[in-house]
């Protein structure tokens, strides 16, 4: 009985550590609400670490063009994300026009995009570290495809 308890505690501890590790880079949140009569609601909350992990399984040749195009801009992207991560929370872009509102903010360690128009509202929040890791992986695919 004691042994069973120890095994259960080990499994629970490992699971908790795993969840903690997976969630350590924050969560990606996507919320889409359609305002049509047949309203659809899509809500996804996923650990941000899964995206760069998932990128490992995408064949390099599939990312070839994106990787080649993004490569020259990597120093700029790195500098921008580093500054964004280190800086205070800020509304970067706020566009309002009749029937539409677009808001891009830096909130905590995440970049948040909110779009509201007459048809739907979209909310996307992604941790900057996850964005950085994902873009680095896309850029790295450029080297892989040329090898």
């Amino acid at each position: 009985m004691v042994l069973l308890g120890k095994v259960a505690l080990g499994i629970a501890g490992t699971a908790l550590a795993g969840v903690g590790l997976i969630c350590s880079e924050g969560m990606i949140e996507v919320n889409v609400v359609e305002k049509q009569p047949e309203a659809h609601h899509v809500y996804v909350l996923a650990p941000a670490m899964l995206v760069p992990i998932g990128m490992h399984f995408v064949p390099s040749r599939k990312l070839g063009r994106a990787a080649t195009e993004i490569q020259p801009w990597m120093p700029t992207i790195r500098a921008a994300l580093e500054q964004l991560r280190a800086g205070d929370d800020i509304t970067l872009v706020d566009v309002r026009e009749p029937g539409q509102h677009v808001l891009v903010t830096k909130d905590g360690g995440s970049v948040v995009v909110d779009v509201a128009d007459k048809d739907e509202t979209v909310h996307v929040s992604a941790p900057i570290r996850a964005i950085e890791s994902t873009i680095e992986q896309v850029a790295a695919a450029s080297a892989d495809t040329h090898d």
Binding site: A79, A80, Q83, D88, D89, I90, T91, V93, D94, E97
Partner: protein, 193 residues
């Protein structure tokens, strides 16, 4: 003896307070300045606000190497200067006292270029039906930084941004016409409100 001890105590307390102030002052980060762009179009009911930390702009610019922009420098063709020695012109403006350098009054347009309180001021008033009013105020330090490169056909945009950051709060550009209002300014607030 007691007086001496008290005096030493007061001196120690004072020294401690001063050192605390010094440490606080050294530890305090430099105030971040933000570049704000606000465009309001009353006829279409549109508004655009962009807020950018100047430190971010200063960090990003040197990394961009595309077209005429390289390492924070913009290369300008000879034709863009129209044969005018801009450095000599700016040097003349810099050393001159506050004054109006150019005043043009035409039937449909007024133009005024002046130097005032360390700023280069350009004012353009279009007197036509949709009359546009443009005001540009650039601190001379920023203009100096812009032309601080060794090469004659280059503008040091990165240096200008650093100078802007040091220049403090300032309204740089306002454009107003019948329906649209554009404002570009620098301050230490992260929002454009």
């Amino acid at each position: 003896m007691q007086k001496a001890m008290r005096a030493i105590g007061v001196c120690c307390a004072l020294a401690l307070t001063m050192s605390n102030f010094a440490v606080t002052a050294m530890a305090a980060p430099a105030t971040e300045h933000y570049l704000h762009v606000k465009v309001d179009d009353a006829s279409k009911g549109e508004s655009v606000n962009v807020n950018l930390p100047l430190s971010m702009a200063a960090a990003i610019l040197p990394t961009v190497n595309k077209g005429t922009l390289h390492n924070g420098h913009v290369t300008i063709g000879e034709a863009d200067f129209n044969g005018v020695d801009v450095r000599a012109l700016l040097d003349a403006i810099r050393t001159a006292p506050d004054n109006e350098f150019v005043t043009v009054k035409e039937k449909d347009q007024d133009v005024r270029v002046a130097k005032s309180n360390g700023n280069l001021i350009v004012h353009v008033l279009d007197k036509s039906k949709d009359g546009e009013k443009v005001d540009v105020t650039i601190p001379m330090k920023v203009v100096d930084a812009l032309f601080s490169t060794v090469k004659d056909n280059e503008l040091d945009v990165a240096a200008a941004i650093r100078a802007l950051s040091d220049a403090g709060d300032a309204v740089l550009v306002t454009v107003q016409d019948a329906t649209e209002h554009v404002r570009i300014w620098i301050d230490s607030h992260s929002t454009s409100e």
